[in-house]
C-alpha cells in the first residue's frame, strides 16, 4: 500500500470532453474539508490557548513522555520483527507452491479485517499468565500480557500485512534474470539472495516497514487489553489522550494529539521523499 498514487504523464494535456468536473470536484473538496481538513485544523489550533509554554509543559510531562516513548518504541520493535518475518512470508507465498497457500495468503490480511478490539481480547487471553502461550512463557520467566512486551506483540500483529502486501507485488514482478546471472557467475544461492535479491527488495521493504510502524504508533484497540495500562509503564499515548479527555483536560488531549499527528506527517513526508529517491534510482 503506497501512500501516493502516480499518474501517467501525458504529453498533450488536452481538456477532457467529459462533463461533471465542477460537480465531482465540488463534492470532493466540500466533503474532504468537512470531514477531514477542518476537524484536523481544530485539533492543531487547540493546544496553544496557554501559549507555547503551556504546550511545552504538557509535552514534557513525565507521564506523557513515557507514553509517547512506549508508543513509538514498541511500534519500532514491532515493525522490526515484521521486517524480518514479513519478507519470509511474502517469499514463501510468491515463490513456493504448497497446499493451503491461498488460505495462508488470505490470512495475512486478517489484521486489516478483524476489528481491533476483537484482536485485543484474543491476544490478551492467549498471552495472559494462564493463556495457551502465556502459561508456557511464564515458566520461562517471561511475562507478556500486562507488560510493555504485550504492547509489542499487539503492534507486531497489526503491522504484518503492511510489510507482506508491499513486498508481494515487487517479488512477483522481479525478473529472475539477475538471479540466473549471479548463479551462472558462480554465486551460491545464499550469496545470490543476499547480494542480488535483497538489494532489489530493499526499497519496498523499507516502505512496508515504515507503513507498519506508522499504523502501529496510533494503534489503540488491539493494545489496551493486553497492555495492562500502568501509567508511565505500559500506557500508550492514544490511551493517555482518552484519559485526559475523560478528565475534561482538552488542552492536554489536544497537545498529545498534535504531537502524534506531527510525527506521522513528518514520517510520511520522509517516506515519500525516500520512495521518490528509490524510484529515481530504478
Amino acid at each position: 500500500m503506497s501512500l501516493t498514487a502516480t499518474f501517467p504523464k501525458k504529453k498533450n494535456r488536452s481538456r477532457s470532453a467529459l462533463p461533471g468536473f465542477g460537480l465531482s470536484m465540488g463534492i470532493t473538496i466540500f466533503y474532504l474539508s468537512a470531514i477531514v481538513l477542518i476537524p484536523l485544523a481544530a485539533l492543531v489550533i487547540r493546544p496553544w490557548s496557554a501559549g507555547f509554554d503551556g504546550f511545552w509543559r504538557i509535552a514534557t510531562d513525565h507521564r506523557v513522555l513515557a507514553a509517547l516513548r512506549l508508543s513509538f518504541g514498541a511500534a519500532a520493535i514491532g515493525a522490526g520483527i515484521n521486517a524480518v518475518f514479513g519478507p519470509i512470508v511474502a517469499w514463501v507465498l510468491i515463490r513456493y507452491r504448497f497446499p493451503g497457500k491461498r488460505l495462508l495468503d488470505a490470512l495475512v490480511d486478517l489484521p486489516f479485517a478483524l476489528p481491533t478490539a476483537v484482536a485485543g481480547i484474543a491476544l490478551s487471553t492467549l498471552y495472559a499468565p494462564q493463556g495457551w502461550i502465556g502459561e508456557p512463557l511464564s515458566h520461562l520467566g517471561i511475562k507478556v500480557a500486562y507488560t510493555p512486551l504485550g504492547v509489542v506483540v499487539a503492534l507486531t500483529f497489526i503491522g504484518l500485512p503492511f510489510v507482506v502486501r508491499t513486498l508481494q507485488p515487487v517479488m512477483a514482478d522481479m525478473s529472475r534474470d539477475a538471479e540466473e546471472a549471479a548463479a551462472t557467475l558462480g554465486a551460491t544461492r545464499l550469496q545470490t539472495i543476499s547480494r542480488v535479491v535483497l538489494p532489489m527488495l530493499l526499497p519496498s521493504l523499507i516502505t512496508g516497514t515504515a507503513l507498519a510502524f506508522a499504523r502501529a504508533v496510533g494503534e489503540y484497540g488491539s493494545v489496551i487489553f493486553i497492555a495492562g495500562n500502568l501509567p508511565a509503564i505500559s500506557e500508550i499515548a492514544p490511551l493517555l489522550i482518552i484519559i485526559k479527555l475523560e478528565q475534561y483536560d482538552y488542552a492536554a488531549a489536544a497537545t498529545i494529539g498534535v504531537i502524534m499527528l506531527t510525527a506521522s506527517f513528518v514520517f510520511i513526508l520522509a517516506l515519500n521523499v525516500l520512495q521518490n529517491w528509490a524510484a529515481s534510482r530504478r
Binding site: T4, V89, V92, L110, F112, F265
Partner: protein
C-alpha cells in the same frame, strides 16, 4: 509476465531452505494470526452454544448490533458516493495539485483512530467550538449517533476513493468520451459506461470500507460515551463485557465480528482471483 519453466535450479532455493522458510512462515502466521482467530471462537463456545447465543440475543447486545448496522448503513454509502465523485474528478480530468489532493484523501489512514475521535470532540464536545451553541439548541452530536457516524466516516474515508482512483486512471476516458460524443448526458455516461467498468472495484472498496466501519473501535470509543443499549456499537459492547469479566459474552459478540472478518476476507480473495483485471492494479499478485 510470461510463465516459463525453469528446468535449472538456478533460481530455486535449496530444498532444506524451502522447508525451513515454509515452516517459519506457517509458524509465524499460525502463532500470530490463526491462533488469535481460533481463540475467539473457542472462548465463545467454552460453555456451549446456548450460553453464547444468549449473550448475543440479550437486549444490550441486540441494541449494539442494530447500532453498528445503522452506522455502517449511513457511513459506507456516503463514503462510496464521495469515492466515486473524487475518482471521477481525479482520474478523468487534468488539473494542478492532483498529487496533493490524492495525498489529502489518504490522510485519515495516517491519523490515529483516537485522534480521529478527538477532533470531533474538540469541535462538537461541551468545551468544543460549537459545544455551547449545540447544547442551547438541544442538539447532541458527541455521545450520540451523529458523532459515532462522523468518527466512522473519518476512519473509513479513503477506502473507496483509493481503490477507484488508480482503476479509473488505468481505464482512461476514451469510452466515456465516445459516449459523450454520441450525445449521452453526464449521468447516462456514468451509469451506462463507467459504472459497469468499475463495479467490481467499487464492490472491493465498499467491502473493505464496511469491514472497517463495523469494526472501528478507537475513534468510536472516544465519541460514544459508552452508554449501554444506546451508544455502544458491537466493538464497544465487547469491551464493556470484557472489562466486566463476562468473558464468554465478550467473545460471543466478538465471534460475530470475527465472522464478519472471515466473510470479508473470503469475498475479498474471491474478487482478487475472479476479477483481477477489474480491480486496481495494486492487488494483482
Amino acid at each position: 509476465m510470461s510463465k516459463t519453466k525453469h528446468p535449472r535450479s538456478a533460481t530455486q532455493d535449496h530444498p532444506l531452505m524451502r522447508v525451513a522458510l515454509c515452516a517459519i512462515a506457517i509458524g509465524f502466521i499460525g502463532l500470530f494470526l490463526l491462533l488469535p482467530l481460533a481463540t475467539v471462537f473457542l472462548q465463545a463456545l467454552k460453555q456451549g452454544y446456548g450460553v453464547a447465543l444468549a449473550a448475543i440475543t440479550e437486549p444490550d447486545a441486540l441494541a449494539a448490533i442494530r447500532l453498528t448496522l445503522l452506522v455502517a448503513a449511513i457511513a459506507v454509502p456516503l463514503n462510496a458516493a464521495f469515492g466515486i465523485a473524487a475518482s471521477w474528478a481525479i482520474a478523468k480530468f487534468d488539473f494542478r495539485g492532483k498529487g496533493i489532493l490524492t495525498s489529502l484523501i489518504d490522510l485519515p489512514f495516517a491519523v490515529s483512530p483516537v485522534v480521529a475521535g478527538l477532533i470531533y470532540v474538540l469541535i462538537f464536545g461541551l468545551q468544543g467550538w460549537f459545544g455551547p451553541e449545540l447544547r442551547n439548541h438541544g442538539i447532541k452530536i458527541i455521545f450520540a449517533l451523529p458523532g459515532i457516524v462522523l468518527a466512522t466516516m473519518f476512519v473509513t474515508f479513503p477506502f473507496v476513493a483509493r481503490e477507484l482512483i488508480p482503476l479509473m486512471a488505468d481505464q482512461g476516458r476514451e469510452e466515456e468520451e465516445a459516449a459523450a460524443t454520441l450525445g449521452a448526458s453526464g449521468f447516462q455516461t456514468f451509469f451506462r459506461v463507467t459504472l459497469p467498468n468499475i463495479k467490481w472495484g467499487l464492490l472491493y472498496g465498499v467491502l473493505l470500507c464496511n469491514a472497517r466501519a463495523m469494526g472501528e473501535f478507537g475513534a468510536v470509543s472516544v465519541v460514544s460515551g459508552h452508554i449501554r443499549g444506546l451508544t455502544n456499537t458491537m466493538p464497544l459492547h465487547v469491551e464493556v463485557l470484557y472489562n466486566d469479566y463476562q468473558f464468554v459474552g465478550a467473545f460471543a459478540v466478538a465471534s460475530l465480528l470475527a465472522l464478519l472478518a472471515i466473510v470479508t476476507l473470503t469475498f475479498k480473495s474471491f474478487l482478487e482471483w475472479r476479477y483481477a483485471d477489474e480491480i486496481a492494479a495494486a492487488h494483482r499478485h
